[in-house]
């Protein structure tokens, strides 16, 4: 009856057609190709792959094109596609110490074996708009180092931790293989493996803000960037009928090892603890935010008092997923007029009671 909130299939189809037209924009401007997005909007593609939990630069670029550049919408598209894919197995754990490094920095040692490698980073750029880009300027070729980097650079922490002042991470012996969060619901208490899965696909902005909050005193855990690395790692798969691992290919990956002060507990001596973050492609902000939150969520396990949002496992894990969050926030756009009608009925009755009470009180006062 209420025309504004009801619409037939025709209205929806027309809306979709209009959306497609808006996506294309001015037809006098050449259409963007998926390859252009994949190559020139790479960091957007990387974020969509990370939070979409699917390493496929072409599909992520397509999703960005279809979503008109909206990241969360593109992530949603990629996830909805991913859910239809068949699982035929799990790869071996990535051996990031064998990463072909393009960037590797450590903030806790002045020099590290293999050197500090800045790589392609925004870090020391002056954020001045480069107007030559508006004129489609091709950049000059970057110089090549005289001596190439070592094929692999071992992890800084593992190399420089002879005194064991930083906790060593060993895979629990009796642990069952971690469950797949995209196939099974989140249950509590959540293991660290489950938490890391959740954070890895969690919203970058959410993790950034939560990580930031720990730095400002809401669950402070004294972090240092132990190592941040970005490069290519080999994905290996062991097919049961083969009995040995075969290389499937390389993927780009960012990894952050955060090192945090820890005063010790009844069972653990004072030492540095760790937080871990990772992302597909080049995503340092995400990996660092994730590492801070991972460490914050270890509060209970390390015997620290849980006082702040970033340390609250249910709060963090239930609200990190932007596809879930965008859906539930935006479902408020759906009609709610039946519930609203019920509330109207209640509020009218309550007001009637309140008015009668007031009038009765006035009448009594007048007597």
């Amino acid at each position: 009856m209420y025309v504004a909130v009801k619409g037939g299939e025709r209205a929806i189809a027309n809306a979709h057609a209009w959306l497609a037209e808006e996506r294309r924009g001015d037809v006098a401007v050449p259409e963007l190709t998926v390859a252009q997005i994949r190559e020139q909007q790479r960091l957007a593609v990387d974020r969509v792959m990370t939070e979409g939990s699917l390493y496929d630069p072409d599909l992520a670029a397509l999703a960005l094109k279809q979503a008109r550049g909206d990241q969360v919408e593109a992530i949603f598209l990629l996830r909805a596609y991913r859910t239809t894919l068949t699982r035929f197995g799990a790869t071996l754990p990535l051996e990031t110490s064998r990463m072909t490094v393009r960037r590797r920095v450590s903030a806790i040692f002045k020099d590290v074996p293999g050197g500090q490698v800045l790589g392609p980073t925004f870090d020391y750029t002056h954020r001045l708009l480069d107007f030559t880009l508006a004129a489609n300027g091709e950049p000059p070729a970057a110089p090549t180092a005289e001596t190439p980097l070592a094929d692999t650079l071992p992890g800084v922490i593992d190399v420089l931790n002879r005194e064991s002042l930083i906790e060593t991470e060993v895979a629990p012996q009796d642990a069952a293989p971690p469950a797949d969060l995209t196939r099974e619901p989140l249950r509590f208490p959540a293991s660290r493996a489950m938490r890391l899965q959740n954070l890895a696909r969690g919203d970058e902005g959410f993790l950034l803000a939560l990580g930031y909050s720990t730095q400002r005193g809401y669950g402070r855990n004294h972090p240092f960037a132990g190592e941040i690395r970005f490069g290519e790692v080999t994905v290996e798969f062991e097919a049961p009928e083969l009995g040995f691992a075969v290389e499937l290919g390389d993927i780009e990956l960012t990894e952050c090892q955060m090192v945090n002060q820890f005063a010790g507990s009844k069972t653990e001596p004072p030492q540095f603890t760790r937080g871990y973050g990772t992302s597909f492609g080049h995503g340092e902000r995400k990996a660092m935010g994730m590492a801070l939150v991972d460490r914050a969520l270890r509060a209970a396990e390390l015997g620290e008092e849980v006082t702040s949002p970033a340390q609250d496992t249910e709060f963090v894990l239930y609200h990190s997923d932007n596809v879930e969050a965008q859906g539930f926030v935006q479902h408020l756009k759906l009609p709610h007029y039946v519930d609203f009608q019920s509330e109207l009925t209640v509020i009218r009755a309550m007001r009637r009671t309140a008015t009668q009470a007031r009038e009765a009180a006035l009448a009594e006062a007048a007597e």
Partner: protein, 320 residues
Amino acid sequence: MNAMTPPTIDGAGEEEGYSFAFLDEQTKRMIRRAILKAVAIPGHQIPFGSREMPLSYGWGTGGIQVTASVIGRDDTLKVIDQGADDTTNAVSIRGFFRRMTGVATTERTEDATIVQTRHRIPETKLAEGQVIVYQVPIPEPLRWLEPRETETCKMHGLAEYGAMHVKLYEDIVRFGRIETAYDYPVMVNGRYLMRPSPIPKFDNPKMDYMPALQLFGAGREKRIYAVPPYTSVKSLDFEDHPFEIERWEHTCALCGSGDSFLDEIVADDKGGHAFVCSDTDYCGQRSAEGHEGTGMPEGYLQNPPPRSGGGGRRPEGEPT
């Protein structure tokens, strides 16, 4: 079809490149197991591996997954939102199933074998053999009292529902009545406290000993629960404050019904309003049978003209 093209609402028939009803058979099996468990323990929430659907979380993904798992080629599907078959999201979900299954759809409650709903139970009584699938945003009845899942699990385990009674009691003390108007908590089979989903409390009595199977799907929260046919569903209340449903001083302006849930329609920009049935199928069938209401107020605009000066292009072929 190209698997990379996302489904749209148009088209009909079974979609190439996708399983019948979108979900793969293994997923359907997993969901059916959760449903069986839910039926075996009425009102108890069963966690399940909710999938990412091509529709948004919060827009019916739980109900869609439940429907997709129980629907067969011989089924007839009805989808409503706010009681109406023609609300946009109902149209979208019905279109999704028509496209992914090719099954027959209907607006007539009595002709449907499966009714997927958001926020209403049809006025027409459901019968044995029918299934009603509710879309659920928040499955946990104790959530507003206790935000932690670990705690609410314990409370259900111990049937420790005092907090909810206290909440309702506090309402009575403060307002003289229970102010919950929709999603009014119910006790199922005398054991589990359950959210009926955000239906108006007007619909709660329909759940009690309903001959149809009632299934509830919460996609984002990854829970399924159920009420088997002919199971006790009691709305919480107190001896001296018995449960009551909404009543109107009006009847439906279109079909004259005095016992259906009425929507308030703003009829003009001068404060004029009218009441009509929220259940469009029920209202339409009554009108077809010759029942008449008082009619819509004069000046009611069935199709208001587009706002002037709003700008914006209109796609070709859009009705004016």
